[in-house]
């Protein structure tokens, strides 16, 4: 009767080892699974139960930020009921999690990889940068990172540790250039010295940013990918709740994404 447990693999309990407030409403959660979990890769996400009761009911999706020795980290912002509860977790609390879920960023081994993060988009993009830096034979990636304000530029130390010096833009100019990071990227890509055929772009951020980015990459004919978000129920491709429009029809963000080619996304 109890033999079903052997197949459980993407379903696990994880203990909170740290839940650190970085700035204002941004937190870094470190989880240590209570059993061996599947290997996770940049782009993957986890569905986390923030509550054992029935309200809130559904698990919340969060991108893998970074793998650690004993588990992984989630970088999140408090926006509603679920994330508020999550922000009150303390070391020793145990959470139900499923994952790793979803696809990964298809890094191009031969290209120079350009990473673009907007706001919390740095959560998966940092992990991607880390993994590229640690992949022998891959060139150091470039990071274009936009935020609302200087204070919300995260991961500065961690980026420095892997020798990445991001090009930063903020809405209010309190860090890096003032303005839109996609504009900054455009300028870079259009500068005479760049051959766009040698670059690939990997992005995560708010919808308007990704939309602008896909307009840009489509115009320049440069290959790019973005991790998307959509409200989710199951996280594994069974409820068909998380679809987005693509040139190949409606696709599930949880299963066929979250990473999609920029030129296939229909905004």
């Amino acid at each position: 009767m109890r033999s079903w447990k052997y197949v459980l693999s993407k379903l696990f309990k994880a203990v909170v080892t740290e839940n650190k407030r970085l700035i204002k409403d941004h937190y870094l959660l470190t989880l240590s699974p209570l059993k061996k979990i599947k290997k996770n890769r940049p782009g993957n996400f986890f569905m986390i139960s923030v509550e054992s009761g029935l309200d809130p009911l559904l698990k919340r999706p969060f991108s893998l930020h970074r793998s650690t020795k004993n588990g992984f980290q989630i970088l999140y912002r408090v926006v509603g009921k679920g994330t508020t509860i999550l922000s009150n977790k303390t070391p020793g609390d145990i959470l139900d999690v499923i994952g790793p879920l979803g696809n990964t960023f298809p890094v191009n081994n031969k290209h120079r990889n350009i990473l673009v993060a907007g706001g919390l988009g740095i959560a998966p993009i940092f992990g991607l940068a880390d993994s590229i830096v640690n992949s022998p034979g891959l060139e150091q990636p470039l990071l274009f990172y936009g935020a609302r304000t200087g204070k919300e530029v995260l991961c500065k130390k961690n980026l420095a540790d892997i020798s990445i010096r991001p090009v930063i833009a903020t809405d209010d100019g309190t860090a890096g250039k003032k303005g839109n990071i996609v504009k900054v990227l455009e300028k870079f890509l259009k500068s005479g010295s760049i051959n766009v055929n040698e670059y690939s772009i990997y992005a995560c951020g708010p919808k308007p940013m990704l939309k602008a980015l896909s307009a840009l990459t489509n115009k320049l004919g440069i290959k790019g990918y973005a991790a998307l978000e959509q409200s989710m129920a199951c996280g594994i491709g069974t409820c068909l709740g998380c679809v987005v429009h693509t040139t190949r029809g409606l696709k599930c963000v949880c299963k066929e994404g979250p990473v999609f080619p920029l030129n296939e996304i229909v905004w």
């Binding site: 993407k10 379903l11 139960s49 559904l58 594994i236 491709g237």
Partner: protein, 306 residues
């Protein structure tokens, strides 16, 4: 009472199941994804996502909104179509050796009948569940589930088209579910499943627009359990054919409540999203309950609260 004397076996008309725990249509895909979480052959049956003759795109996103202890969905019956199911998905389920119940629907009476005939002629399908109740109505579509005369006609047409066990899935959005159950029984259904989702909606107060692109969606999950339980209770009073109870089941206790109200078997929907292995925990819990209470067969539970 010794463990070995307990049996979880249950018959839904001609359909014989090793246990009463199945999955609710639309919440378990075609079974494949959950096989990564547990051995799905342990389920009483897998009920697959609703199929139509032709593939369907469904409604526009956003399609999901969480509500208090529940969720709204407006998937709109997106599906790969019967042919693709038979070719690409059914072989996997056959290999797993789990009873397969195919949920299906049509846009017209002939379409319902054609779908049933096609599915009925396919090996490896153990029963059909006819969805006459999806609230994502298009062009008056919902009358199949709410107007007894139409309900009767469409069921009779399907009944003629197939000899597979026929389960009719009822809509809760009616004044008298007992009447609908009786209508289904009289029209030839072998079993009833109850309930589908309640119609509901949610509004974003900042944008001042409905949160679902489709405006209206179906409410499921623990929030609706008391309503579902009462409807199963009413159906049990009104028909003799077996009832598959569903609506908000997340624990063995919930499942047992449905059986006491009159259900022969139960289906778990939204619960799968909360915990992908929930059906196995429910199955274990039912077994433990039977052990504790000295119950050897589910017959001793069915309808016992009446």
């Amino acid at each position: 009472m010794k463990k070995k004397t307990i049996t979880l076996k249950v018959n839904i008309g001609k359909l014989k199941l090793k246990n009463p725990v199945m999955t609710a249509s639309g919440t378990f895909g075609y079974g494949r994804e959950y096989a990564e979480f547990f051995d799905i052959s342990r389920l009483g049956a897998v009920v697959v996502k609703g199929l139509s003759l032709k593939p369907r795109q469904g409604n526009q996103p956003p399609r999901i909104v969480e509500t208090a202890s529940g969720m709204l969905n407006s998937i709109g019956l997106q599906n790969i179509g019967i042919d693709s199911f038979i070719e690409n998905e059914l072989p996997f389920l056959k290999k797993v050796k789990v009873p397969v119940i195919v949920n299906f629907f049509g846009d017209s009476i002939p379409e319902y009948a054609e779908a049933a005939a096609k599915l009925g002629a396919t090996k490896g399908i153990h029963a059909l569940e006819m969805n006459i109740s999806c609230p994502n109505k298009q062009a008056g579509w919902s009358i199949f589930g709410t107007d007894p005369r139409v309900t009767s006609k469409v069921i009779m047409a399907v009944r003629k088209a197939t000899s597979l066990p026929l389960i009719v899935k009822l809509s809760p959005n009616v004044t008298d579910i007992g009447l609908m159950a009786k209508t289904a029984e009289d029209a030839g259904a072998d079993a009833i499943s109850a309930i589908n989702t309640l119609t509901g909606m949610a509004i974003d107060i900042r944008s001042r627009k409905p949160k679902l692109a489709n405006i209206i969606g179906g409410l499921s999950g623990p929030a609706i359990k008391p309503v579902a339980l009462k409807m199963v209770w009413e159906c049990y009073k009104s028909v003799k054919i077996p009832i598959i109870g569903m609506g908000g089941i997340t624990t063995a206790e919930d499942a047992i409540e449905f059986m006491l109200a009159g259900a022969s078997a139960v289906a778990v929907g939204t619960g799968n999203f909360i915990n992908p292995a929930i059906t196995m925990e429910i199955l274990e819990g039912i077994t433990s309950f039977m052990e504790e209470e000295g119950i050897s067969s589910l017959k001793q539970l069915k309808g016992e609260a009446h």
